[in-house]
């Protein structure tokens, strides 16, 4: 992750987007610290409120009561919560995310193994939705109230309204069980990626389409579009060169937010499709009351969401010179 970040910063420096943006990035990364602290604090206490006894879960059905009490004492589960929280944060700051309560594996190792799978799934989904939604949004706006536009908007409404786990199940029934085109679950090559990525992409495709359409509609009514036309710029070029770039700014905001929705959706989608990512890992860990693992997953989710939104803010500067000025 950090490797990518360093590379990205190097690219920015090379592109001469300037030191101002670099400073901005550093400031944003520093701001991430309080956010992480808050998130971890919240999750830590919420998990402690859930019912169930970790020690008896670890020891299994045959455990004696004394052994359970002993283990609780050993794990420090009898200490006040705030002490437990302090202990966790202490080791986290040393880079230690702890070990799983359930099977003793290292949290960092497990997440490191699973995160690439979730990353693969969400990135495929976001690329899929951008590739579908931007063109549809643009065409809908340029041909407002046409059949294409109406059809597109109805589909978008349906897409937003359908819960992703349900779409997942329907897709499995249709394409795996009945048609047999794709595997119904697991991770085995490109074919197994298609259904979960598509399931995940539907809702975001719908909302990005709607945003693109509405911001495009606004932009094509601007005076500068008339200026461009009056210069003799062809119809298509007015759209692709003059309108799209300005219309993309709101669309990109939504893409960033949708990335968060996608991560949330991954929890459900990964479960439905038995995809070995951290979404499913988190669901399993919550069921096992595996606090270190849940916290590890949450940290990774929060970090990825924040970093994606940081990237998007930098993209703004590239698209809109007025925003770039504000980064100083």
């Amino acid at each position: 992750m950090y490797h990518f970040l360093i590379k990205f910063i190097a690219v920015i420096k090379y592109e001469q987007i300037g030191g101002t943006v670099l400073k901005y990035i550093i400031r944003r990364l520093l701001l991430l610290l309080p956010v992480m602290l808050g998130v971890i604090f919240l999750v830590f206490f919420i998990i402690s409120l859930t019912p169930g006894n970790v020690a008896s879960m670890i020891l299994g059905d045959g455990a004696t009561d004394e052994r359970i009490v002993e283990l609780r004492e050993e794990m420090g589960l009898n200490d006040p919560l705030i002490i437990q929280y302090g202990r966790y944060m202490g080791s986290l700051l040393r880079g230690d995310m702890g070990v799983s309560y359930a099977d003793g594996r290292s949290v960092a190792g497990e997440i490191g193994q699973r995160f690439p799978n979730t990353f693969k799934l969400t990135i495929t989904a976001i690329i899929l939705s951008v590739l579908i939604s931007i063109p549809i949004g643009v065409i809908s706006a340029t041909k407002q109230y046409s059949i294409f536009d109406n059809l597109g908007m109805i589909l978008a409404l349906i897409g937003i309204s359908m819960p992703s786990f349900w779409i997942g199940l329907i897709l499995i029934i249709a394409f795996s069980l009945n048609l047999g085109w794709f595997p119904s679950g697991g991770m085995s090559g490109v074919m197994s990626l298609i259904l979960p990525a598509f399931t995940l992409a539907i809702a975001s495709t719908a909302s990005i389409t709607r945003t693109t359409r509405s911001s495009m509609l606004e932009v094509i009514r601007q005076d500068y579009i008339n200026t461009a036309k009056a210069k003799g710029v062809s119809k298509n070029k007015v759209i692709t060169k003059h309108a799209l770039r300005n219309a993309l700014i709101p669309a990109i905001t939504v893409i960033g937010l949708e990335f968060g929705v996608l991560l949330g959706g991954a929890v459900l989608t990964e479960t439905v499709f038995s995809w070995p990512g951290i979404g499913r890992l988190m669901v399993q860990s919550i069921q096992r009351k595996d606090t270190p693992m849940v916290l590890g997953c949450i940290i990774v989710f929060t970090l990825s969401f924040s970093i994606v939104n940081l990237l998007i803010d930098i993209l703004y500067a590239y698209l809109d010179p007025r925003i770039k000025e504000n980064y100083k």
Partner: protein, 332 residues
């Protein structure tokens, strides 16, 4: 006969909306000769901008539609050619300066690129050549070429309008349409921009259609004046005829609404009432409800053109029987 650059014949344009049909332009004729400037004057909603946009064929359709008429630019019948051909005409033979410089430039493209774009569309030049020409244009309008890479938000309103002028003139069009180019600027900048436009117009031997509601601007830059009211040209003539021998009561009303510099305490005489509802224009003269001279016939019959000279006409019943009728300058 002098060289005609723009000729409009019996142009009618309407907007079909959910609330009804707006008759925006109701049969106007217009002629602009080479090197001359026609001022199109009228209040908001008179159809000035619609007329201008129709010359570029940029009236949004729907709701706008050109019902009838001819627009002939440099011997090309604009209403009969294809959209592709029209694209080669916009920016090359005719270009337009819009009212509000704050919104007329694309905020995400640097100004140099916005100027050179027009050049590379219409002229056979390399990218570098277009850029070089754009730099020249920028310097002609009084902006240092070093600001080529800057974005519109880095310029002031007057500077933006200069950039827009540079874009419009980059391909030396035969006709420049300026839609209230100084309305959004403050007064000191207005004079500079007008001066610049006048100077460039003469240098490039262009004709100009100057849309404005400011008779001061008209006196400054125009050769001929057309007064537009509710989609009709109610009076037209050269500068002297309109200013000295005003014939139409509406034109007189416009003059009476201008502050008098010799007598600053004199009260303005506004034109009473509002422009007639464009959804439902009256049968007779559209101005008769606001006119102090209105006759019975004005309610029922549309006035016809009455010529006072080869160039000066007015559409008013006052002169149909008696072409020597004199307006009394709003004094009763």
């Amino acid at each position: 006969m002098r060289n005609k650059v723009l000729e409009i014949k019996n142009l009618k344009i309407r907007y079909v909306t959910d609330d009804g049909i707006v008759e925006a332009v109701n049969g106007i004729d217009m002629l602009i000769e080479k090197g001359r400037t026609l001022g199109l004057v009228g209040e908001t909603g008179a159809g000035k901008t619609t007329t201008a946009m129709s010359i570029l064929r940029l009236i949004p359709d729907p709701p706008g539609e050109i019902i009838s008429g001819d627009i002939i630019l440099d011997n090309i019948k604009l209403l009969e050619i294809s959209e592709n051909e029209m694209e080669t005409i916009r920016g090359r033979l005719v270009s337009m300066i819009f009212q509000d410089p704050m919104t007329a430039l694309n905020p995400s493209i640097c100004v140099g690129e916005q100027i050179s774009e027009a050049i590379s569309i219409h002229q056979d030049v390399t990218k570098e050549g277009a850029k070089e020409k754009a730099r020249e244009m920028l310097e002609i309008v009084g902006i240092p070429g070093s600001r080529m890479e800057e974005y519109p938000h880095q310029f002031s309103g007057g500077m933006k309008q200069r950039v827009i002028i540079a874009i419009a003139l980059s391909c030396s069009p035969k006709l420049l349409i300026a839609d209230e180019p100084t309305t959004a600027l403050d007064v000191t900048i207005q004079a500079q921009v007008l001066e610049l436009m006048k100077e460039l117009k003469e240098k490039l031997e262009m004709s100009m259609l100057m849309i404005t509601h400011d008779l001061g601007v008209v006196a400054e830059v125009c050769d001929d004046v057309a007064i537009m009211y509710a989609g009709r040209i109610v009076e037209q003539g050269n500068l002297e005829e309109i200013f000295k021998y005003t014939k139409h009561p509406y034109t007189e009303g416009l003059f009476n609404s201008i502050p008098n510099i010799d007598d600053r305490k004199a009260e303005l005489i506004p034109i009473r009432g509002l422009m007639s509802d464009p959804y439902n224009l009256p049968d007779g003269c559209s101005f008769c409800d606001r006119c102090d001279y209105a006759l019975d016939i004005c309610q029922t019959e549309k006035p016809k053109k009455i010529y006072f000279s080869g160039t000066h006409f007015s559409e008013c019943h006052l002169y149909s029987g008696n072409s020597d009728f004199q307006l009394n300058c709003g004094k009763k």
